[in-house]
């Protein structure tokens, strides 16, 4: 066997193996495993208290996991303090040192690496220029605006070119008008620098538009991870489907399986949902599936297998789409989004039949017993 035959395994920037962390009785992180390839943009997404920030702090070394391993660049760092890890971190409120000028602040990481003074000054000037904050070099944090602080914090974290940059809700403290611009800039910066970004957020728009890989967390566990389009089009659990906007989550009981299609009995009727890669559930067991609101069809033809009779309650017009909120048997609420600037076709109070084609139903994994 020659060297060329050995498969080249690209070295991972970060690997988490079964991380656990508890505070007293509260489990903050439960069996979290994650692999981050070279220069990837990872988004940890979830509601507050889901363990995403604790996971990030474990990577930084600010928290020590109770069990599990952390590898940075293929090197085991579990138990090592933050100052020995090849990471940098950007904090939610930026955590700028109030007594240091911007230049001193940005040079701090280089000082810690014991770089010569002249080299630090040159590098700081270069980075400040690149971040367009050169004119702020002698200011202190109190004299900066929110957007400027954000740039300083980013420059301070990136100046040493770490392997991984950890970002804890990095644009949460900014005005809405600034966020979109900053997001674009950060995405470009990440691509150009080749530094892996691990971005913690509760905002799904951020997560899905920025991430190469999205990790959805809930109750200390990873619910689902994958490419943004994968997670969006195929939520694997009821939580993920419900957390992502625009999904109708329907609960019911399993019926018979025929040709890889499961019958699900719900309050709204019986529907046919493809099993795909899931094992056929026991008949009568509780389960859920979801249908995206824009995948519903108005007044479906006879060939559409899944149909519901509904009454329209409200219609909201958002510009890009029109959202209809409808109610079915037993008070179940269904959302239907109509994209494109089409004339309104369903009036409030109107009774209507909606349907969806077989492959638009997404079955969820059975909830843990």
């Amino acid at each position: 066997m020659t060297l060329a035959d050995v498969p080249v395994i690209p070295q991972l920037d970060l690997e988490l193996r079964h991380i656990r962390k508890r505070y007293g009785d509260f489990v903050a992180v439960n069996d979290v495993s994650l692999q981050v390839g070279k220069g990837q943009f990872i988004c940890l997404l979830g509601p507050s208290g889901c363990g995403k920030t604790t996971t990030l702090r474990c990577v930084a070394g600010l928290e020590e996991p109770d069990a599990g391993d952390i590898l940075i660049g293929g090197r085991e760092v579990t138990g090592e303090p933050p100052w020995k890890r090849d990471i940098a971190m950007m904090f939610q409120d930026f955590a700028l040192f109030p007594h240091m000028t911007v230049a001193k602040q940005v040079g701090f990481g280089l000082e810690m690496l014991k770089k010569p003074k002249a080299q630090i000054a040159a590098r700081v000037a270069e980075v400040l220029k690149a971040f367009e904050i050169g004119h702020l070099a002698e200011r202190r944090p109190a004299q900066l605006s929110g957007g400027q602080k954000q740039r300083v914090a980013l420059a301070r974290a990136m100046v040493t070119e770490p392997r991984i940059l950890l970002l804890d809700e990095p644009i949460g403290a900014l005005d809405y008008s600034l966020r979109e611009t900053v997001m674009l800039e950060l995405k470009t910066l990440q691509k150009r620098s080749g530094i892996s970004f691990i971005w913690v957020t509760h905002d799904q728009n951020e997560a899905f538009s920025l991430g190469d890989h999205v990790v959805v967390m809930n109750h200390a566990r990873i619910e689902q991870q994958g490419r943004p389009d994968e997670v969006l089009s195929r939520p694997r659990t009821a939580f993920v489907a419900g957390f992502i906007q625009g999904n109708n989550v329907l609960e019911g009981k399993a019926g018979l399986v025929r040709d890889g299609v499961l019958e699900v009995m719900t309050a709204l009727g019986t529907f046919r949902v493809p099993l795909l890669d899931l094992a056929p559930p026991a008949a009568g067991s509780a389960l859920s599936f979801s249908v995206r609101a824009e995948r519903l069809i108005e007044r479906p033809g006879e060939d559409v297998p899944n149909r519901i009779a509904l009454r329209c309650i409200t219609v909201e017009y958002f510009g890009a789409f029109r959202r209809h909120v409808l109610e079915g048997a037993g008070g179940t609420v269904v959302k239907y989004d109509q994209f494109g600037a089409l004339p309104q076709s369903i009036r409030e109070g109107e009774n209507i039949v909606l349907g969806w084609s077989l492959d638009n139903g997404v079955l969820h994994r059975a909830p843990p017993a």
Partner: protein, 287 residues
Amino acid sequence: MSTIRLRSPAAFWLALPAGLWMALAVVLPVLLIVWVSLWGGTSVSPNNPITFDNYQRFLSNQNYLWLIGDTLVQTAMIMAITGVLGYCIAYFLTVKVASPGWRVALFLAFVIPFWTSTLIRAIAFVPFLGVNGLLNQALMAIGLIERPIQAFLYSRLGISMAQVSLYTLLASGPVVYMLNSIPPALREAAMTLKAPPIIVFWRIILPLTLPGIVIGQVLVFLNVLADFITVTTVGGNKLAFLGNLILLFYEGSQIRATAVVSVLLMLLMLAGVTLALRVVDIRKIGG
């Protein structure tokens, strides 16, 4: 809510009572003392000529100059000890004690003794430091010494021990406040920028608590300079600092000398506070 503008009639009338009180209780007596310190002649009379003779006489006495120097040395020593000790206690209470319950308990144990008056606390040191005092008995009980140490009470060592105990809280309190106002994220940010704990302390924590240290030092400085009670009670009549000298002259009816020492003491205090204000702007604290 309306605000009171500077130099408006409302501001003037609101400041008047306190202003009057300050003028009568502080400014006027100080002016009187300064005036008396400049009296020539020998009688107590408003018609005395104004002269600097009293100062000249006092400052040309070698013994008194030594005493001024000695007072300053003692003050500096107490400032140094209470500064280090107070900072350590403040750091321990706010940073190292993780449980909030313990923090409150320890903080109260530290603070409650200071609710008693300075005089009582100073006197309380007599039975503590005496030949049959608590300290000697404790040291003998654990076998560190065989016979009581006499030098605890009525000595400079005793005074210093008492003063350190009396004034450490003053040095510590402002530091506790400053430490509490440092967001934990700053420490963490420094650590993720590759700073080990000792550097985090030196480069982040210490500079950010500097105003607290300076204010604490000013408080200790003023209190030790003004302290004659501890020196009298714990030091017996063996020792005197500037504060005691005022008392001695006063009891000896030497009204001019009393005033001279008082003015000199006030000038020392003023110089110290001015110096401290150059280092840190106290008005910025808490704003």
